[in-house]
């Protein structure tokens, strides 16, 4: 019985909903479209509850770290910021009707800690790209040499100095981006779409069970 509940009932529910949503996408039926719209709202609401689970588990992890005295400062900062944002933001919204987007403490935490942190990490990306590009552009093989040549031509074609050096570089850059690059990108997109169709059919038919565990 437990196997039926855990394995087959989810697959039946999933298949029914999948066909229902496919019908909504492909057919113009007001009743069906309205029901599907309500269904999507319900999914969003249910999904929001997953945030609570994630917040609880993250808090538990960092409380343990503080107890074990492994990352006391980092974990304390994280827990303080997270719970002040949640509790103070909810309190101000529920009692005083202040939107979290306009609440001073919540906004201070966001613009004083989260936002600069995000920007710092994003700027580190530039150095990582340089390091990765150096490794990729070393002409160790025919493919790497082609990549190096294409990269240099595109960079020169895009930069204003390229046109000053040799005007046709702009056309060469355009051709590389619009013909071989575009063809490659479209192959990747099309193959992904076809594979996704097959994946969803595997899931609907219950063949693909990896996402719900494989235990016997």
């Amino acid at each position: 019985m437990s196997m039926v509940i855990k394995r087959y009932i989810p697959i039946v529910i999933l298949a029914a909903i999948a066909f229902f949503m496919a019908g909504d996408t492909l057919l113009l039926e007001p009743v069906l479209n309205d029901l599907a719209s309500s269904g999507r709202s319900a999914v969003t609401i249910i999904g929001s509850f997953a945030v609570i689970l994630s917040v609880v588990m993250l808090s538990r992890l960092h409380v343990r770290r503080i107890q074990r005295k492994t990352t006391v400062v980092e974990s304390s900062v994280l827990l303080t910021c997270m719970w002040v944002t949640i509790i103070w933001g909810l309190y101000r919204f529920a009692v005083e009707g202040v939107s979290p987007a306009a609440e001073a403490t919540v906004q201070s935490i966001f613009y004083g800690i989260v936002s600069p942190g995000d920007s710092t990490i994003y700027s580190i990306l530039a150095f990582f790209i340089a390091a990765a590009a150096y490794r990729a552009f070393r002409a160790r093989s025919l493919e790497a040499t082609l990549l190096l040549a294409a990269g240099v031509l595109v960079m020169l074609g895009k930069a204003p100095i390229g046109a000053s050096i040799w005007l046709p570089l702009v056309d060469i850059q355009n051709w590389i981006m619009l013909v071989p690059n575009m063809a490659g990108s479209r192959v990747i997109i099309m193959s992904a779409i076809i594979a996704t169709i097959a994946l969803y059919i595997r899931i609907i038919f219950g063949y693909e069970r990896g996402w719900m565990g494989r235990g016997e």
Binding site: D118, I121, A132, R135, I188, A198, G210
Partner: protein
């Protein structure tokens, strides 16, 4: 009443063709049926990245270091995340069998209940339910670069032996891959995002390009039903290519019947 392509365009967020949906369903179903009945035995080409997973876990066992696995930024409704979770289930089971610590990270909270359940079940299937540590399944943040920071810190602090990046990735892909490279980890990455694939190819040891990620779960399982769908998608691809070629020629000479027919 059918929705025409014009109506589909007008309905923001909707796309599709009833005819193509039914044709795809019929083709894949037939391929699955024929494969299950044994009338066709599809031969799958080797996927070096997937074949190397056992080697990665073996390396982690020898080094006594953990394995890091992430499905990236996507939510549970993303096909890349679903594919990533299918592979994660296999990797978690192997890790449980070989007593390798399995660290799983993700950005969308919607992944958490599914990931917790399937990884726990992988440990149960390996006969080691007591070895499952829920804290190793970690939600770090749903903000892109906060999540990237968390993953980078985790990979470098834990000095992971293998870094597996299989799912939905955007600009943070290179941050993950470079962190793994600096930690000296053997790396496998896979995504369908064509903008991130070059970064992964450059930095990682193995890359699953586009559909290779989506079919990896079926490739690992080798079940006839799943392998049949791979055959089905190949049939769809061949039919699509033939129709594209015919359509291009007909369109060039001014006949638009085939294009209108397909858009039904």
């Amino acid at each position: 009443m059918y929705i025409t392509d014009v109506e589909l365009s007008a309905r923001s967020g909707y796309s599709g063709s009833l005819l193509m949906f039914i044709v795809s369903l019929v083709i894949v179903s037939m391929a699955v049926y024929l494969t299950i009945k044994g009338r066709i035995k599809p031969k799958l080409r080797r996927l070096a990245g997937i074949d190397a997973i056992d080697e990665m876990i073996g390396r982690a066992t020898e080094l006594g270091r953990p394995i890091h696995y992430t499905v990236g930024l996507g939510s549970i409704s993303d096909s890349q995340v679903i594919a990533g979770l299918s592979i994660a289930s296999y990797v978690a089971r192997k890790c449980a069998e070989l007593n390798v610590r399995f660290l799983f990270t993700f950005a969308s909270p919607s992944v958490q209940p599914v990931a917790l359940d399937l990884i726990k079940e992988a440990y149960v299937a390996a006969g080691k339910p007591e070895a499952f540590v829920p804290d190793n399944v970690r939600w770090l943040s749903d903000r892109q670069f906060s999540f990237a920071t968390g993953v980078m810190g985790l990979v470098l602090r834990e000095k992971v032996a293998a870094n597996m990046l299989l799912g939905y990735f955007a600009a943070e892909s290179l941050i993950f891959a470079e962190a793994g490279f600096r930690a000296g980890a053997i790396q496998i990455a896979g995504t369908t995002n064509s903008y991130q694939i070059p970064f992964f190819v450059t930095v990682c040891d193995y890359t699953l390009i586009s559909e290779e990620l989506i079919v990896a779960g079926a490739y690992i399982s080798q079940e006839p039903g799943q392998v049949g769908t791979i055959l089905g998608q190949d049939y769809i691809r061949i039919i699509g290519l033939v129709l594209m070629a015919i359509g291009a020629v007909l369109y060039a000479v001014g006949i638009k019947t085939l294009t209108s027919w397909i858009a039904l």
